[in-house]
């Protein structure tokens, strides 16, 4: 059973170490293709392919080859093993993907050891980019999209907020990012609760929130059955009828799940960096390319755009390098990367290698039979507030 890879690896040993121009640029895509987070891998992978579909798969004379590897879910040891194999055996030029933070964090050290640029296409924990000088993030950080929510709420006369977050590290990040900014601008948190990660019934928590009589409920929970459960409970408990607004980062109205949740999501206000409904020629082209690659009626969401933009950034780097790979130079180019993405203008902060982008305020509306996150306000040029705070403290 092990013979084939053994022969392959022997072949690799005898192959010339440096790349001929005709050799492909290899990107090792490490993402969640099976298990409960399978949607992550699918979105990211399809997003990358959408870019290739739109722009062709040859960059600076070299073909782009994506090698897909499945982490099987949140499984750091598998992610790390895949990264090691991709670097030592497949000799990839880039690592990419990473839907979940632990998988990205476990691989960080490998990127450093193997001197391989690592492009984060979703994982949103702030600290990730600090773990290796070879990491660049093209997605977002959770505080980055959460803080604007607090600013918007404070500005729009929402005074009393009840906070519901999932009881895990990202949830706690979102909770503290929101509370800090919201109270700093005169808002009041009338109550907060952390919900277990595996929680089939939201009714008691939503009831608690309702009993506290806030003007709005701030919510952060991972997209998927958790947000489905929350939205059902929200509708059933009649919070909308009681005049309670739902606000939060865009995960709860994730474009991928929005249709499945349907009517009860109408009117929810969220802040996020990408909406399927974003109105721009770039997004139009992206949606078209995505549809032609995926074939299904599944919508691209923020992870897909992360994959797309990550691929675009890699292509831009390869082009500037003239097809001759060099990790150090590649990182320097990444740091000055700036473009107009389907989500709007984005650039990389050269100091932190993290993304700087517009964060939009959106409201769920029904248009042409579709539920959409319609953008109506925006915060331009938002950096990761956690790293900004660290920089401030260092001064």
């Amino acid at each position: 059973m092990k013979l084939a890879p053994a022969i392959a690896s022997l072949a690799v040993l005898f192959a010339a170490p440096a790349a001929f121009p005709a050799d492909p640029i290899k990107i090792g895509l490490i993402a969640e293709f099976s298990g409960p987070f399978a949607a992550y891998g699918r979105q990211i992978g399809t997003g990358m392919k959408a870019w290739l579909k739109e722009h062709g798969d040859t960059v600076a004379g070299r073909k782009i080859e994506i090698i897909e590897r499945d982490t099987t879910g949140p499984s750091p040891e598998v992610a790390k093993r895949l990264a090691q194999d991709l670097i030592t055996t497949d000799k990839v030029d880039f690592l990419a993907g990473f839907g979940l933070s632990p998988n990205a964090l476990a691989v960080a050290a490998v990127a450093t050891q193997g001197k391989t640029p690592m492009v984060i296409m979703n994982a949103a924990t702030s600290i990730i980019t600090t773990k290796s000088p070879y990491i660049v993030r093209l997605s977002m950080t959770l505080p980055q999209v959460t803080e604007p929510m607090a600013l918007w709420a404070a500005k729009n006369k929402i005074k009393k907020v009840y906070s519901i977050v999932s009881d895990f590290a990202p949830g706690i990040d979102a909770e503290s990012a929101f509370q800090k900014a919201f109270t700093a601008h005169g808002g009041e948190i009338v109550g907060s609760v952390r919900v277990p990660l595996k929680n089939p019934d939201f009714a008691p928590y939503v009831q608690r929130a309702k009993d506290a009589k806030p003007e709005a409920v701030f919510i952060f929970i991972p997209a998927g059955e958790q947000s489905v459960g929350f939205v059902k409970a929200f509708a059933e408990r009649g919070l909308r009828q009681a005049g309670i607004q739902v606000i939060g980062p865009g995960d709860v109205t994730d474009d991928d799940v929005l249709e499945a949740m349907g009517e009860p999501t109408l009117g929810m206000i969220t802040t996020h960096h990408y909406s399927f409904a974003h109105d721009s020629p770039q997004n139009e082209a992206f949606r078209k390319a995505y549809a032609s690659v995926s074939g299904a009626k599944q919508r691209p969401n923020f992870m897909a755009v992360g994959g797309y933009d990550g691929m675009a950034a890699i292509a831009a780097v390869v082009t500037k390098l003239g097809g001759k790979m060099d990790a150090e130079k590649a990182m320097e180019i990444f740091k000055t990367y700036k473009t107009e993405s389907p989500r709007g203008p984005i650039e990389i902060d050269p100091q932190t290698r993290d993304i700087v982008q517009s964060v939009y305020v959106r409201k769920v509306e029904k248009k042409g039979g579709q539920y959409l996150n319609v953008e109506f306000d925006r915060f331009p040029h938002v950096k990761d507030p956690v790293k900004e705070a660290t920089k401030e403290a260092a001064k």
């Binding site: 409960p36 399978a38 949607a39 009714a203």
Partner: protein, 288 residues
Amino acid sequence: MLSALPGVLFDGVAYGSLLFLISIGLSVTLGLMNFINLAHGAFAMVGGYACVVATLRYGLPFGVALVVAFAVAAIAGGVLERVLYRRLYGRSPLDQVLFTIGLTFMSIAAATWVFGSGQQPVRLPDTLLGQTRILGVDVGIYRLFLIAIVFALASGLALLVTRTRFGARIRASVDDARTAAGLGIDVERVFSVTFTLGSGLAGLGGALGIDVLGLDPTFPLKYMVYFLLVVVVGGAGTIVGTLCAAMVLGIFDVAGKYYVPWAGAFVIYALMVALLLLFPRGLLRRIR
């Protein structure tokens, strides 16, 4: 806080009903047939998808879709029993576990292939949406509906097992297959029918549960712990025991989440361990 108690109790009973619905099929196959069917969740998922397809693609009413869900899961169960499960009745429990886990893996990949990895939309009829006021307590109509179904189902099943000739045949076949066969009972058929019934119930539970639990291909693994928890705490094979366990776990879980939210995640597991230590053979031992 105390004023919320009636509402919390109602939610607890409703959540317990949900737990009962998704577990009862397993209780039937595990308790009555002594077969460890970890692929139970796969049958529930089949029911869930059948319901979604029936309502959204064919526009059938929800009530009809529930019947379809039961039927499709039952047929799937019946066929698999014929072709595969039957060969494993005499095997060790570990073989049964391994086999049914293998089936679960296959069902997850197959569901991903057919339906994609995303969440499926569920549309309840308008009459089941929203809340109504009963005795001064706001209660969800769908929850009320679930509770009603559960009590109908539980009493129906209890009667079937304890009062009917078919029930007597099941019990005889389980206790001693050889003697039962000697008495002229077609044991093979009894097991087939029981397994089909258990699968159908799983499908029904899946269809009724997806409104709260959501539906995606990992459903069978994601909720496996919950099925097992309810069935084992209740004592395998007692309909009433499963009902009691579901209610106790449901009420305590909801009350815990409402009154001591910081301990939310611990309540149900700690309760399970405590109940199992107090009642190692389940809340109610098997009905004889």
